[in-house]
């Protein structure tokens, strides 16, 4: 009698277990599907236009076949390099201030609020703002202004993830450092920030990947360029801009190039993020948490 009861209960438990597990699997599939679908579609549409010329040549004038996006790939690299060198240090410093030095102060609350608002500002507004602040006074579009626009867009994400990650470092670890007679600033930089670094790097990569695909803030700043240019003072090409220009054009082979550009953009972002992950994960010790 009793063993029968146990059998039924265990059956019910097994069924519920399978049910919940399959729900989790379905949810995971739903999350991954759009990404995979986009990628497959990009490969289908863009892969056929990818060739060596795409990576080595600048765009050809309308009507001439061929040409590539070498200048846009380089331009995106320059813009993102500039943006990261602005956004990452300012964002991390801000996060350190919020988590370690300004906790509970009015200034910190104001900074946190501003960062959250900045995070919600539409990217086109960022472009217009930088147009008014840099492009208009200088009287010309430039790579510099584009980099600044992207850099400012990176700051809130980097800042807030840095703060969150630092707050997750256990209090005991800070006490251990202070108890050894390590000055507070040193403990923050060498112990707390280092312990939080995997999360901080993830935040930087998120911000990087987000601005890498931004088109709107570049329309009013970097403008785009059909020719080679590496000068920070000149308009510069960027992959998202080039994709935008080609995609809204009336020409079929430009459409194909736009697809190829989108595919390359995604691949480059994935490569950059994996490279940073690989470099920063070297030297992690056995059993480190």
């Amino acid at each position: 009698m009793k063993s029968d009861q146990f059998k039924t209960r265990s059956k019910v438990r097994t069924i519920i277990d399978h049910l919940v597990t399959s729900l989790a699997v379905i949810a995971t599939a739903l999350v991954v599907t759009p990404l995979v679908a986009i990628f497959i579609y990009l490969v289908y549409k863009g892969a056929s236009s990818l060739n060596l010329a795409f990576f080595t040549q600048v765009p050809k004038p309308v009507g001439e076949p061929g040409g590539g996006m070498a200048n846009a790939i380089l331009g995106s690299g320059i813009l993102l390099g500039l943006a990261s060198s602005i956004g990452v240090p300012i964002g991390i410093s801000g996060g350190i201030y919020l988590a370690e030095f300004g906790r509970g102060t009015k200034l910190a609350n104001a900074v946190r609020f501003t960062a959250d608002v900045l995070n919600g500002v539409p990217s086109i507004v960022m472009g217009v703002a930088i147009y008014a602040l840099i492009v208009n006074p200088q009287k010309h579009y430039s790579a510099f202004s584009g980099g600044v626009a992207l850099g400012i867009m990176m700051i809130p994400t980097v800042c807030r993830t840095t703060e969150e990650m630092l707050l997750m470092v256990p209090h005991a670890v800070r006490e251990a450092a202070l108890g050894l007679g390590v000055p507070n600033w040193r403990s923050v930089l060498s112990i707390t920030l280092k312990t939080a670094s995997p999360g901080v790097i993830t935040g930087c990569m998120l911000a990087f990947a987000r601005v890498a695909g931004e088109t709107a803030p570049l329309i009013f700043t970097a403008l785009g360029n059909q020719f080679w240019s590496t000068s920070l003072n000149q308009p510069i090409a960027a992959l998202p801009l080039q994709i935008y220009v080609y995609a809204i054009s009336p020409y079929d082979d430009w459409h194909r190039l736009a697809w190829a550009g989108a595919l390359v953009l995604i691949i480059l972002i994935v490569l950059a993020v994996s490279l940073v992950r690989y470099v920063t994960s070297r030297g992690v010790l056995k059993g480190a948490s």
Binding site: P170, A172, V173, E175, A176, A177, L178, G179, L180, G181, V182, P183, R186, S187, S190, I191, K194, T195, S197, V284, L285, K286, G287, A288, S289
Partner: protein, 252 residues
Amino acid sequence: MGVGIEVINLNAWYGTNHTLQDINLNIPANHATALIGPSGCGKSTFVRCINRMHETNPIARVKGTVRIGDLDIYEDAKPVEIRRRVGMVFQRPNPFPTMSIYDNVAAGLKLNGFSNRRALDEIVEKSLKNSALWDEVKDELKKKSGASLSGGQQQRLCIARALAVDPEVLLMDEPASALDPVSTSKIEDLIFQLKSKYTIVIVTHNMQQAARVAEKTGFFLNGRMVEFDSTHKIFTNPSDKRTEDYITGRFG
């Protein structure tokens, strides 16, 4: 060598909570002194006042005199200097999780700008030997994270880390309360060996532990020190009724 600690009229607060009231005592050099008492009686706050960790909490306040050797720590020195002379081991093992075993031990020196590698190697080895951990970790010093060790090993690593900066006093805030009996007895053996070189103050909930390792014992209750005497006297013939009640298990 260890130095004695003289505490005169020490008061401490957390916000408006008066956690330590008029503490006076002399802790002898090169001995182990145990502090016992029920939870919340102020014994942890007391040891945190000896290395000025108490004031790292923004709402904490402290008043009174603490002399370590000839140094008045609240008048004559900066907190970071005091903390290098007065090492601390915390209740829960807290190795730096991203650092190797070697770097954990060397952290106190490295982060204060000490960079002579050969000297560091020697200090790390000596500290790990002094904390009875060397034989268990010597093969993977730089490969394994401090967090990968067992709880008892982590606590001995924390002791080695505290010893590496060559303190005169070692404060231990319930160092074995999160450990199993075998690890606990290792820590106690260690305290026995270390007290010839350092002045040790150990906070403990475990009265047998106090009786085993300490020459002197202080009994704290409700933020006051009720009695301070030789361990033998405290446990066999206390002069205060409240001490006797606590020792015999009538409360706490």
